[in-house]
């Protein structure tokens, strides 16, 4: 996690900061370029094949009977607990600490934040440490849970993470959590009850859901109606 966080900081320094004043298109290209570089690194440093996760102590955990016919494996419980802890921790960090407040200020307006004595660059670097580090944690969880991974895994998950964040409303941690739940549950339900062949359409369902919600609520499920910069 720490390593990935540092990598996120490096990428921010190299690929984003020089472009902070450069309009909207250039940073997108730069970000995609950085994604290509990371993918090529992952592909060549490890290998292009699917790899299995080292089966450690986590596999052998006992499962818990929650209700009639519903059992949670130990692994699932750990994943759930870790996720909950991270969500609560992040929420408290952003809402209650000074640094978190500074972060929210920066997201509203760089210049005014600077006038208020916030070191904008430092905050952005910090954000780029936390974000990728959490992404790395999620990656580890995926690896542990599904047991195998591949260097192309990132695209779909990255896209879905983006969708979940937008579904809930950008800049809103409960919203992102809700978005993630809505996305995950809809996909699973559709696969389970959608009849034969529905699993092939799983990803499409997520995207259709996104478009429908954005048409109905353009700022996401829990999005605040932020006044557009005029």
């Amino acid at each position: 996690m720490g390593f990935i966080g540092l990598m996120g900081m490096t990428i921010e320094r190299v690929a984003y900061r020089p472009l902070r004043t450069a309009g909207r298109l250039s940073p997108v290209i730069s970000a995609l370029g950085a994604a290509f570089v990371l993918e090529a690194l992952a592909r060549n440093v490890s290998s292009a094949r699917w790899q299995t996760y080292p089966e450690g102590l986590l596999r052998g955990l006992p499962s818990v009977q929650v209700a009639e016919g519903v059992a949670l494996s130990g692994l699932q419980i750990i994943v759930l607990v870790v996720c909950a802890a991270v969500m609560v921790g992040l929420y408290l960090f952003v809402q209650r600490t000074r640094v978190g407040t500074a972060m929210r200020a920066v997201s509203l307006d760089h210049n005014v934040s600077r006038l208020m004595g916030i070191n904008v660059n430092q905050i952005i670097t910090l954000v780029f440490f936390i974000g990728p580090a959490l992404g790395g944690l999620a990656g580890v969880l995926v690896g542990v849970y599904y047991g195998s991974f591949n260097f192309t895994l990132g695209w779909t998950f990255g896209l879905k993470a983006f969708i979940a964040a937008i579904l809930g409303g950008i800049g809103n941690i409960p919203g992102a959590v809700l978005g993630g739940f809505v996305l995950g549950i809809t996909e699973t339900m559709a696969t389970a009850y959608g009849g034969a062949g529905a699993s092939a359409w799983k990803d499409a369902i997520a995207y259709v859901l996104l478009i429908v919600i954005l048409i109905a609520r353009p700022t996401g499920l829990l999005g605040e109606t932020v006044a557009e910069k005029v």
């Binding site: 472009l19 450069a22 250039s26 940073p27 995609l32 950085a34 993918e39 592909r43 937008i166 478009i211």
Partner: protein, 585 residues
């Protein structure tokens, strides 16, 4: 210097386009353009069309569109399905393909156009993925699933061959001549026209080779050019007539000497490149000859080139239209545009519709060229590549799209057959160094003299160890060194640190270290390079280049030339270290 020819006026852009077109027309006849390279050129040409169509959406209207491949795919699938199931000639599917792609664009974007940029971006990605998944799942049972569709028909052109095209051409040419020479009097007009007409028709008729009138057309164009050049130099009427007569006479002689064999060459060339069918009686008493394309890429090259020309002409006309200017206003300031009475949502919708419909045309060309289409040719990565073509080249700029295609499509294709062990031992390192240093000099143009000294030092340190030790693999270390040095020096200048002593010291250490450990190091590098598979790293290299390009030139390689006083807060960004004064372009 090049303004001397035009009396100090800047050279109009159509001259550059004409020169480019001439080069493009001549390109496939060079020896190095074998079938595979021509194929790459056709592929790149399709991407130029795609880039130009995306440029309408991203460059002019300033909207995000990361699902362009879906509309490209819609066009391709429309063509393939119609051609396979209904037997429609593939080029005739273009109108329907445009309708399908443009209509889908309207349906998808209308509800979401009012969204902010990043939301729109994700919706377009989502639509692209929905399209791909639908196609993979063989929607309606007509898309062939993940294997795609095979056997789309190749294009077939119905040409009114040979007459009346040459005759119509002559009429137009004579009219142009008569208008040009109107101040010379009736006598000159008639005499010149007569010379042209005789020289035009005599060789094909006398030799009995109607195909030669194609060559006659070239002669008439040359003669018209000579006449107009003489006129511009204020030559008198007699001189002008003599000029036309000389061209006509030279041509006639050449035709009677080599005409028969030339006609044979033209005919065999046509038969080689096309399946020429039996003439059909067409409307208006015309005789239509079907020319069906074969596998050979060269006819496709010209077909795609023709479409590129149409696209560029159309876009240039569109740019200057009311709609085109409305796009620019919406891009620069949506609120102000709305206040000026522009219906911003409708204008954006039209940009989406036109851009996507034209991507559908590119899709038809793609389907007819490759005859096999599969969902993976229209996935998210392709959308990303199209987006990069536009933004890397310079969003809103037509030459930028071409340069972007060179970088994103042609270069990776050429890298495919590059041999990594050879790449490092010839001039390639020098070119890479030159590019790095040029980027450095460009980025620090205000301290040109100091940056030039730094560059010279870096160049010396770059070449010294490999040349003295005779170990070309050390260039790899040199390239890394040069990149690090350039980035560090730029950062140091931004903080007002005197770079020279530090740079000199670091470079000296680098050179000494390489001179001591160089031989052993080179051996190791060599083994690494031998195991270096450029295909594995291609995407990574491309990504690195994308990041680097955007840092050095945020507005693209060839930025859009801005007309009028547009405050360049959006695209033409000031350097980070002087990020105050807004520039007025």
């Amino acid at each position: 210097m090049n303004r001397a020819l035009t009396n100090g006026r800047p050279i109009p852009s159509w001259v550059w386009y004409a020169l480019l077109l001439l080069a493009a027309l001549a390109l496939p006849f060079f020896g190095f353009m074998d079938a595979s390279r021509t194929s790459v050129a056709v592929f790149a040409g399709i991407y130029v069309i795609l880039g130009l169509s995306l440029n309408i959406i991203v460059g002019y209207a300033g909207l995000f569109q990361l699902g362009h491949a879906a509309f490209f795919g819609l066009g391709a699938y429309t063509a393939a399905i119609l051609s396979l199931n209904a037997g429609v000639s593939v080029l005739l599917t273009i109108p329907l393909a445009m309708l399908v792609a443009g209509g889908a664009a309207v349906l998808v974007s209308k509800p979401v156009l009012h969204l902010r940029g990043d939301y729109l971006c994700i919706v377009t990605i989502a639509f692209g993925e929905i399209f791909r998944i639908a196609v993979v799942n063989n929607i309606f049972g007509i898309t062939g699933g993940s294997n795609g569709l095979f056997g789309t028909g190749r294009p077939e052109l119905l040409v009114p061959w040979v007459e009346p095209i040459p005759f119509l051409f002559l009429v137009v040419a004579l009219a142009i001549y008569a208008v040009g020479a109107r101040k010379r009097g009736r006598a000159v007009q008639v005499a010149g026209g007569a010379i042209l007409a005789v020289a035009y028709y005599a060789p094909p008729l006398l030799l009995g080779q109607p195909a030669l009138s194609l060559v006659s057309m070239v002669m008439v164009i040359v003669a018209l050019g000579v006449a107009s050049a003489l006129r511009n130099r204020n030559a008198d009427a007699q001189r002008e007539l003599i000029g036309v007569a000389v061209v006509a006479a030279l041509f006639a002689v050449a035709m009677f000497v080599g005409g028969a064999s030339l006609a044979g060459t033209v005919e065999t060339a046509l038969a080689e490149n096309f399946n020429v069918g039996d003439p059909i009686a067409g409307p208006l008493g015309l005789t239509l000859v079907p020319f069906a394309f074969k596998r050979d890429p060269r006819p496709y090259y010209f077909l795609v080139l023709a479409f590129i020309v149409i696209t560029i002409v159309g876009i240039r006309r569109l740019q200057d239209s009311r709609l085109g200017r409305a796009w620019l206003y919406v891009r620069e300031d949506e609120l102000a545009a709305e206040a000026m009475g522009i219906h911003t949502t409708r204008v954006k919708l039209v940009a989406f519709a036109i851009g996507s419909a034209w991507a559908g045309v590119a899709g038809v060309l793609y389907a007819s060229r490759f005859t096999v289409i599969a969902p993976e040719s229209f996935n998210f990565l392709q959308s990303v590549i199209m987006f990069c073509i536009v933004v890397l080249g310079g969003s809103g700029s037509i030459p930028g799209v071409m340069v972007g295609t060179l970088g994103m499509v042609v270069l990776p294709e050429l890298l495919r057959d590059a041999d990594p062990t050879q790449v490092w031992s010839n001039a390639v390192p020098a070119v890479i160094l030159a590019l790095i240093l040029a980027g450095y000099l460009y980025a620090s143009r205000r301290r040109l003299s100091r940056a030039a000294i730094d560059s010279a030092l870096i160049a010396v340190a770059f070449f010294l160890p490999p040349l003295l030790l005779g170990q070309p693999p050390l260039y790899v270390a040199g390239i890394i060194m040069a990149l690090v040095a350039v980035i560090a020096a730029r950062a140091a200048y931004a903080r007002d640190i005197n770079v020279l002593p530090w740079l000199g010291g670091a470079l000296a250490v680098y050179v000494v270290a390489l001179m001591i450990a160089g031989a052993a190091f080179a051996a190791q590098l060599e083994s690494v390079i031998a195991g270096f598979n450029i295909i594995d790293w291609r995407d990574g290299l491309m990504g690195g280049a994308m990041v680097l390009m955007m840092i050095l030139r945020p507005a693209g390689i060839i930025p859009e030339r801005r007309r009028g006083a547009v405050i360049s807060a959006v695209a033409a960004t000031p350097e980070p270290e002087s990020a105050v004064a807004p520039q007025i372009a």
